[in-house]
Symmetry: C2
Subunit: 366 residues, 2 copies
Amino acid sequence: MSEVYAVRRGLLRDRYAAAGSAAALVSRPANVRYLAGGAPPGAVLLLGPGEDVLLCPRAPTGDPAHGQPDERLRLDVLPDGDPVVAAAGLALGLDADRLAVEEHDLTVSRHRAMAAVAPRLRLADLGSAVEQLRLVKDEEEIACLRIAAEITDQALGELLESILVGRTERHLALELERRLVDHGADGPAFATSVGTGPNSGQGRHRPTDRRVEEGDFLSVCLGANYRGYRCEIGRTFVIGTAPADWQIELYDLVFAAQRAGREALVPGAAYREVDHAARHLLDAAGHTDGLPAAIGHGVGLEIDEDPQLAPAAMGKLDACVPVTVEPGVHLPGRGGVRIDDTLVVRPEADGGPELLTITTKELLAL
Amino acid sequence: MSEVYAVRRGLLRDRYAAAGSAAALVSRPANVRYLAGGAPPGAVLLLGPGEDVLLCPRAPTGDPAHGQPDERLRLDVLPDGDPVVAAAGLALGLDADRLAVEEHDLTVSRHRAMAAVAPRLRLADLGSAVEQLRLVKDEEEIACLRIAAEITDQALGELLESILVGRTERHLALELERRLVDHGADGPAFATSVGTGPNSGQGRHRPTDRRVEEGDFLSVCLGANYRGYRCEIGRTFVIGTAPADWQIELYDLVFAAQRAGREALVPGAAYREVDHAARHLLDAAGHTDGLPAAIGHGVGLEIDEDPQLAPAAMGKLDACVPVTVEPGVHLPGRGGVRIDDTLVVRPEADGGPELLTITTKELLAL
């Protein structure tokens, strides 16, 4: 397994070397994990011309949520001081006169502290080089996402078998998170969202004490974190025996938009085309306000990573990129519908997009 | 209530004006909340020579976990782009040639983007001016912490009445978090830690699937978030009818250290003296390895804020500063003890330190 991390570090080395840097310091936590296999919180990774060093504020604990560092890395445990400052000192010793750093992650203060400790070191910007490597997932990463999605489907499926009327959004959210862990998640991938009645259909609604009532829409959005990999599912149900006409109409519309988005997931499709495929159906039905800024986004070691499937996004989908497709419409005061899947982009020859979250998207009356 | 926020902003204005800035941009989330009363995630606060503006990526939702913005603030909702960049543009319009920013919060990339959009603006460092204002709490803030502590004591008390043997650390942690919310918390103040047997007594142990067994030490650490204010309690219990001699001995030692730390909480005491009061007892008993880096820390809008009660910390305690006192000893392979309270520093004339977390510290055999 550690072969994988060495290969990733090699790819990154090629990039920063081509840009004129002799060494790179990776500080963004998901990027550190991607290249090191695992790391305690706060660890940073120095890729040098020689040895690669993981600088940790404390020793790794074997906690599966943080993973295990690749054994090929030198491990420096530094209980005192900022590891990025220590890394700047080390880089000088490595005879690297130009060090690429993640300017989108480092604060101005940490950057200054590095410059102060190693004034001869020229600090360049690594940019989002690691994020770009992370875009396309290997089969091992996709296997983790697949397990995360299975756990998520199980947790949601069990909830649907229980009595919902009278329970609060908060309790349902906590129960879903407990079930994720029961089924083997290292934790929730993000804060579980449950919205009922007027709160339904919103993207990142934080659960309140509102209780589920007959006739409500009920929207849930949850996901498991499995070995660092995070997926997402969102479903909307109706509570009671029969949905109202407006509910059926709205559901069908969002369902059609979500299907159109899923069907647009083809290698080579522009990110904005996927967004447009779903969004124009909602627009055409008059729902222009309050639409999500993006119809979907990448998932992996972070729950919201590149690519963004948004109107102004630049770029095209590759095969083996996992993304969400999650259009929604929320009518203020009435509620709404949101349907969210995690899929992996696959060539048509391989059967098209691989749906990871397989819970039914029929409008269930619970 | 909004009076309070205007007063806080006035105090900050005095500080940055004295340092030569005409305006300040506050971006660290807890600092924004402290000065604005409440803000949606990602909001930043521009304090100008004239109007104060809260720049939000989306409209406030009334979610109690984020609070409500002070009505005296101008509210700019900017769904696209980075609010700090928009703030730089606004600051130019405000005729402020020098803008103080939080360099310990802003990334290098955001800082550069601000400079690019407003090249005539000189960016200075606000430093930790807001953190310094936040050190001493007013009675309303302490009231929130008191409620947070009550909720935390209730959640822990209920757990102690249930059967523990055979349950996993993860399940106990999830149950504690559910009970926090049941009793009115906006959420847990931090990830609840439960450690059994060899995992007991560690600071931020992440719960595993290990089950509670007879004869184990069981350590829990939890806290409620109430209106943004976060407290912390940590207790260690023994499972079964009678603790072993080594368990009693270790417990008595940590208890004595924790009491010494609590008793050192006097206005005017140096931070390092409080640390020393507890630490030297553990040192003297031969437990020099693996002690926590700090015996305690401030709590408030963040669970770990200034002051740090640590060997090298500079500064002295003031009255009305809430802190934790949380020494612990962990014996690798055997487990350990950690005892953690949240207290408010008070003058002796007022009865000395106010203990917020009142769950018993006797060694309970459960």
